[in-house]
């Protein structure tokens, strides 16, 4: 199998606030040294709590922000330092779907204009004309092609998300980064959009990086899952291994915190309750970043940061994996 994306040592530090005029600026270590690969046509899930760096990772990969260090290799080409104009032809293959279906569509543009924008920006004239292609795209994502001339406010949240998906799909990309694509939607609509994305992934053989905080949603979409905590990947494994046999204590805690719908299953599940909140990424704990909330932490956890190592079928960054 060949890789569509390879990320090495990917790091993003944002400048924080300054405490005095000549003092040093704080550094927010949003993403710190990520290594992972995505195969062609593969759906990988990126999960973690707010502030873990999952969205920053998505924006780094799509080059919407510049990395502090590390490399991003897309489809065999190093795109880490490409300029905006050099990135433009690559964006045809590398698209993003945003979380907020209200903020990510220009309210003054019609749906037709929005979905056609990748053609316009890329200077591409699709076969049979832009309008015909846009209407095809609207049909693919389950919208009425006759709504070509309508404005975003005339659509519901779920329908708007479909417009965003049609736009991402326009140039038949090889990789789509979907940043929390269903978290703003109602439960009954979420399932529709998850099913749609899954069908598209299979039909067009698109690789997906599916960023979400909801472990159950990711389980229904991704073939492989990476769990992030405070800017690091703590565990990567294929879906079934990760959900049935989590190796990192954080993954285990995260899974056990998901509320159970079946009242009879609630008592039978192991409950791990983490105390406290995620530490501040300006001043992350030394060694393993999870150690302050971990029930297994020992001295070594504070002194040495664990590397992501192969243990069984999973890659885990922990001194005391399960």
């Amino acid at each position: 199998m060949s890789k569509i994306l390879k990320v090495e040592g990917l790091t993003k530090h944002f400048p924080g606030s300054k405490h005095s005029l000549f003092g040093k600026r704080d550094v927010v270590q949003a993403v710190d040294g990520l290594n992972f690969e995505v195969e062609k046509g593969e759906a990988i899930g990126l999960v973690g709590e707010s502030g873990c760096g999952k969205s920053t990772t998505g924006r780094l990969i799509t080059r919407l922000i510049d990395p502090t260090s590390g490399t991003i290799e897309f489809d065999g080409k190093d795109i880490t330092h490409l300029s905006n104009s050099q990135m433009r032809p690559i964006r045809a293959d590398l698209q993003i779907i945003f979380q907020d279906p209200y903020a990510s569509l220009n309210p003054r543009h019609t749906v037709g204009t929005i979905v056609a924008s990748p053609f316009r920006i890329g200077g591409i004239e699709p076969e049979g004309g832009t309008k015909k292609r846009v209407q095809e795209l609207l049909e693919i994502v389950g919208l009425n092609p006759e709504h070509y001339n309508r404005y975003p406010h005339e659509f519901s949240g779920g329908q708007r998300q479909r417009i965003g998906i049609a736009r991402a799909l326009a140039l038949r990309p090889k990789l789509i980064v979907a940043d929390e694509p269903v978290s703003a939607l109602d439960v009954s609509i979420q399932a529709q959009v998850i099913n749609l994305l899954k069908d598209l992934q299979k039909q067009f053989d698109i690789a997906f990086i599916f960023i979400a905080h909801d472990l159950a949603v990711v389980r229904h979409f991704a073939q492989r899952v990476a769990v992030m905590y405070l800017g690091n990947i703590v565990e990567i494994a294929d879906r079934d291994t990760l959900y049935s046999n989590p190796k990192h204590p954080y993954t285990k805690a995260l899974l056990s915190a998901v509320p159970e719908v079946d009242p009879d299953a609630i008592g039978s599940r192991e409950r791990i309750r983490l105390t406290g909140d995620v530490p501040n990424p300006i001043n992350p704990p030394s060694g393993c970043r999870f150690r302050t909330r971990c029930w297994k932490a020992q001295d070594i956890c504070a002194s040495t940061a664990p590397q992501l190592l192969q243990i069984g079928a999973s890659q885990v960054a922990c001194h005391f994996p399960e």
Partner: protein, 341 residues
């Protein structure tokens, strides 16, 4: 059994330029002390409007509130605004979804908790502050003596929600309404807050109305569930009834459409087609019928006649608003819904 809270035929409508929005329509339910009722529904189903009505917070706005809201025998809806104000905080209290927006950024957390306590108790400021520290300690804020003087922005999301809970419970209210209390929080923090609410309920014997769209959160906290759709209650029963043996096609749709941690992940989710209706033009008959898969099993009644909320069998506590015959419903549940749960 004494029902502490009884809501009878509550309706709330908002006149707008485009027509009357019937946000809540003929809603009735009751709740005992120490019990939790989960009100579940999607955006626009009327769950938050119901909770604001129970607190008497629609007064002064354009909303028209009908029906009775009896709390401990007193009808909130028939009272003057000034009378309700005296009860709010003491008899009933509320925690909101967005803790940052609900706390005042210019006042310390302790100040805001003490304020609620001072309104209802004739005590000095220092006693009220002591109470604030005590409450912060009770909801699990570390180092409460120091943190009481912090401003809301110095708290994390989970701590702010804890501070809100401390404020809401400072006067020992008998009824607590929690409107999506954990939606803005991360799962690990959500689990902490759910545990906290459950412990506090045991300690104070509070009646809780939990408003949420998350079936998992209700399953872990509530005793009864009220399922709402387009301003109407469409199913009402115990958690076990509604989550394990749902009777309404909308409940079936919800339960089979949510992604879970168990079951076959490769199977497509059984999504409900279409979108929730606009409350200005609610479909005739059963509001859910345009999205319902089983309309053909009933016939014309679904689009012409609003079904009544009836017990699923004589004398049952489990109520449903649907035209399907009990036998047909049982058959559909056994063959098509049950296997997917």
């Amino acid at each position: 059994m004494s029902k502490f809270l009884e809501v009878k035929n509550l309706s709330v409508s908002f006149p707008t330029e485009d027509g009357v929005v019937r946000a809540v329509d003929d809603l009735s339910f009751s709740l005992e002390k120490g019990k939790t009722l989960g009100i579940v529904g999607e955006s626009g189903s009327g769950k938050s409007v119901t909770s604001l009505a129970i607190l008497g917070l629609h007064a002064g706005g354009s909303a028209q509130v009908g029906g009775q809201i009896l709390i401990g025998g007193q009808d909130i809806n028939a009272m003057e605004e000034s009378e309700v104000r005296l009860l709010r905080g003491k008899l009933m209290s509320m925690i909101f979804q967005d803790a940052l927006a609900s706390l005042h950024p210019y006042y310390t957390v302790g100040n805001q908790i003490a304020e609620a306590y001072l309104v209802h108790n004739k005590v000095s400021k220092s006693v009220a502050k002591k109470r604030a520290i005590e409450m912060l300690d009770r909801v699990g804020i570390p180092d409460p003596q120091k943190r009481v003087d912090d401003f809301p922005h110095q708290f994390s999301g989970g701590m702010r929600q804890r501070a809100m809970i401390a404020m809401a419970l400072s006067c020992n209210p008998s009824l607590l309404i929690a409107d999506e209390p954990t939606t803005a929080l991360d799962v690990t923090v959500q689990a902490q807050i759910i545990d906290l609410l459950r412990d506090l309920q045991k300690e104070f014997n509070t009646a809780i109305i939990l408003i949420t769209h998350d079936l998992g959160v209700v399953a872990e906290t509530a005793d009864d569930i009220l399922l709402m759709y387009a301003g109407k209650e469409i199913e009402y029963g115990t958690v076990r009834d509604v989550l394990q043996k749902p009777q309404h096609p909308y409940g079936w749709g919800l339960l089979t459409s949510i992604p879970r941690l168990t079951g076959d992940p490769n199977k497509s989710l059984a999504a409900i087609q279409g979108t929730p209706p606009s409350l200005i033009s609610v479909p005739n008959g059963c509001a859910f019928h345009p999205r319902c898969t089983y309309v053909s099993r009933v016939g014309a009644a679904c689009s012409t006649l609003i079904p009544e909320l009836l017990p699923i069998s004589a004398g049952a506590h489990h109520l449903v608003r649907c035209h399907l015959q009990p036998a047909t419903r049982e058959e559909i549940f056994m063959n098509q819904v049950g296997p997917n749960l």
